[in-house]
Amino acid sequence: MTDALVLQGVTKRFGTFTAVDDLSLRVPTGCIYGFLGQNGAGKTTTIRMVMSIFHQDSGTISVLGHNNAVEVKDRLGYLPEEKGLYKKMKTAEIVAYFGKLKGMDTSTANEKAKTLLTQYGLGDWLDKKCEAMSKGMGQKVQILGTIIHEPDLVILDEPFSGLDPVNRDVMRDTILQMKREGRTVIFSTHVMEQAEQLCDAAMMIHKGKLAFDGTISEIKAGHDFGIRIAFDGDGEALKQLPGLSRINNQGRSAEIFLKDGTSPQAALRWLMDHVELRSFDYGEPSLHEVFVNTVETHNAAHATVEAN
């Protein structure tokens, strides 16, 4: 199977600032792929280059087997991070307009827009102007505008931001549906739980450079196993755990990493004595842990370089 997207040695500079630095990666066809990274890491710049909104200064980008992304522009779907609609346009019109811009003929686009909107529970809103809609509805309209032309590769930049739980589920189902239909979905996020739940594979970009990439299990491999607990009681007490290396305390749940040679069994016994445990799970680390760990390692390395 060919890869939906291949980047090789891609670099993009804005003046003296290097936004993306020698980035190489492969996104296999038909998977859900996460672009991870902090704000300003270079995710959006990478996406914009893939969409040929920007052009890279060096390196090659191959999209759907074409070296020139412009050639396959109509087979791509893109939902930018900051989402806007024409306020004065009717919902059905704007969805159809996006479809037409992607090369659909007028009647097909009009029909499809109505079908999609109805399917997504906006059947009563076909003739209403976008300005009358709530934010969640607006986002639905935007995602429909992104997928109306049945793209082979869909890129969603922070698709979950600003969505309530119900709409978040709608978005998740839409992404899964696209995968079932054989499309490739790339989405960027800095919420690791979403990536962990949805992605088959992912990459992380840090300060313009690739930090890691691969399937989720590949990414987690080589990282320390951790203990995930849910508890009631004083979370501060957890810091006293003998053999503790690091802890991500979320208040009523926590992820705990032990020093080499410390037994998880011993930790469990200690925890049972000190907090009201509701669950205990020992296994591979969360993507969140890998992410935070990677950022810290990189920053530490960077600080060392600076110091020298």
Binding site: I53, P80, G84, K88
Partner: protein, 482 residues
Amino acid sequence: MASKKLLVAQREFVENVRTKTFWIGILAVPVILVISIGAGWVLEQFRETKTYAVVDYSDIGLARRIEQQARLGDLKAMGKLTGAIAESLSDDDEIPEETAEKLHRAWLDLPASEMEQMLEDDPGGFQDARRFNLIRLSELELDHLEPEEQARELTKLVEDDKLFAYFTIGANPIVNADGFAYVSSNYTDDKLRKWYDSAATRVIQSMRIRDAKIARDVAERIKQPIRFKKRKDDGTGTGKTEEVTIGDTANKYAPVAFVYLLWIAVFTAAQMLLTNTVEEKSNRIIEVLLSSCSPGELMSGKIWGIAATGMTMVGSWIGFALLGVWVAPMLIPSLDLPLMEIIGDPLYLISFAAYFLFGYLLYAAMLVAIGSVCNSLKEAQNLMQPVVILLIIPLISMIFIVQEPNGLVAKVMSYIPLFTPFTMMNRAGGPPEVYEYVITGILLVVSVWIAFKAAGKIFRIGVLMTGNPPKLMQILGWLRAK
């Protein structure tokens, strides 16, 4: 599959044209035009009658004679109506006060519609009678006082707004102009004073002539002013001349109206484009659009879409003008026809449409570039200032160029592409030489092309920028980049 440029253009066009505000805006122009023409007339109808009194220091009853003289226009018209005394009345004749009074009052009592009909030839007289009303000193119970006392009392009345004004007539008008005064608390409305001035001048001039024992016909001859009659070549090639009509003058001034409309059209359309670009940029829809089409397609799609919107606006105005030409003479048969012919002149209409298109395209390219580097409308309006200042120049020079359509200023401005559409339209009454149309036309088209290229370069980069607008040097850098 329609081209993406066309799709963008179509969307812009439909979005603007289907709004009510767009059509209200279009309709507003002819409505405002009609209102501004009609407003003067309407306001005149609401003008209040000015009351005045006269203190006469002369002991020869001058006030009465001036009053008669001032009302002579009315009386002549009245006389024409009765057919009895019209011809016999001359400027110097005295009419028995009683008769004059009766005629005057009878006149004032006539319904306005009848008066208008009677006074087709001399509406001036009719208006005077209506506008100014003499309050006699006897009515104010001041007739028993000395003139100085009268003046003091009248000043109080003027101060209290019970009287609009009063005049004092000097003691010795045949010898000098001492003691003539006009007292009013309104310093801006001079109509009453001028009207009374001219009547008094006529009366006193006659008295002085008689006093100097100058024969009446001699005096008339001396008083006769010199007027150079406006004439022009009659176009037969024989060197003969004919009188210049109001229509001829209107013809020369007609371009002003077209320049003004052109200006409104260019400004409105360019502004529409700017607002639109900033909106797309600030709500980030631009990114979705750019994932589907190139910046070039997007930019020219927008420009042409709004061009079509502007042409709809201009076309509607031309439609209104033609409708006006067709309907107006039916409503008002006496309407001055030459003016109507000018409005319907295809030379004006076609060049109006063409100059709108190219003028718009030139300014559109500038504004779309400005819009693309701004994140908010406020920023855009600040950056737009220089363009607005440029646009004001053809407005300021409008009347000057109409008066000197082939002067140096007009010619120089014609060759500056930013002013070409306005200036050439402005000079249409001249008219300019054919070669001027050709050269300035070529210059304009070339400038539009260059402006599009430059705007494309700025738009491509600017439209995705966020944060502070770029510095001028930075923009120049983009222009140099390939």
